[in-house]
Symmetry: C2
Subunit: 129 residues, 2 copies
Amino acid sequence: MKIGELSKKSGCSIQTIRFYEKQDLLEACNRSEGNYRIYDASSLRTLQFIKQCRSLGLTIIEIKQLLDTKNNPDKSCSSVNNLIHQHMVDVTHRIAELQELKLTLSEMASACTDNRKVKECGVLQLLEE
Amino acid sequence: MKIGELSKKSGCSIQTIRFYEKQDLLEACNRSEGNYRIYDASSLRTLQFIKQCRSLGLTIIEIKQLLDTKNNPDKSCSSVNNLIHQHMVDVTHRIAELQELKLTLSEMASACTDNRKVKECGVLQLLEE
DNA sequence: GTTGACTCTATACTTGGTATAGACTTTACA
DNA sequence: TGTAAAGTCTATACCAAGTATAGAGTCAAC
């Protein structure tokens, strides 16, 4: 199949597919006589794997490591498990940060609920501190 | 004061200060004979305001709007309040997304708690789906 | 007078794509 | 068979919010 079809089947944009190829996530595929990229079902599977990983927030470098690990079926999978675990720790940490931020924002919002003049605005006053 | 002192007092790096100037957040300051930037207490206050806004996650464009609004003390402050409110909505939304993600990651992590071979790894199997 | 600390500008790099321009290939239809 | 439309190609620039560097100039102390 050509890149347009792969794009539709995978839900990744054409530019993104070419971008992944340039980043060595997706290996260079065969070309038609007119130099069009020709993909097969295995490219689609890899692309779906990449998309799944991206939706979990894994970076391109991490995905590259996962793809590399997948190519060594007899090695230990501990690096995979560690990656997911560490990522979960990071996400947990980020959630805590955002909850803190939300609290600050809500305190700030309640400092000026009515419509005042700029010089009397409670929000701006808090921002000055 | 020169940029190094402003950097220490504000906690912003020297490059960041120059970057804010280029972005028109911090207005171009006076220069010494040797072309060094010379700042005063008002520059420091503005920089602290910017830093406070950035710590809340406001973008440079939004901060520019806030600084602009601050310069019109008699206008209505509703745009300020709306900005903070909308930002809080966005943060709330982002927290929900990350909590969803955390759940997925924790399910994934529990699919392979022991150390197996890559081809038997429960995490990788989930990632394939 | 020279060393070291400080500052200057300009430029490149980061992440994960997205958006062009300009050229080429292929397909559809009259 | 000709041509128009759709698809694809490469290369390049752009986004946000800085960070890092090179190479040059300035300033203060010894």
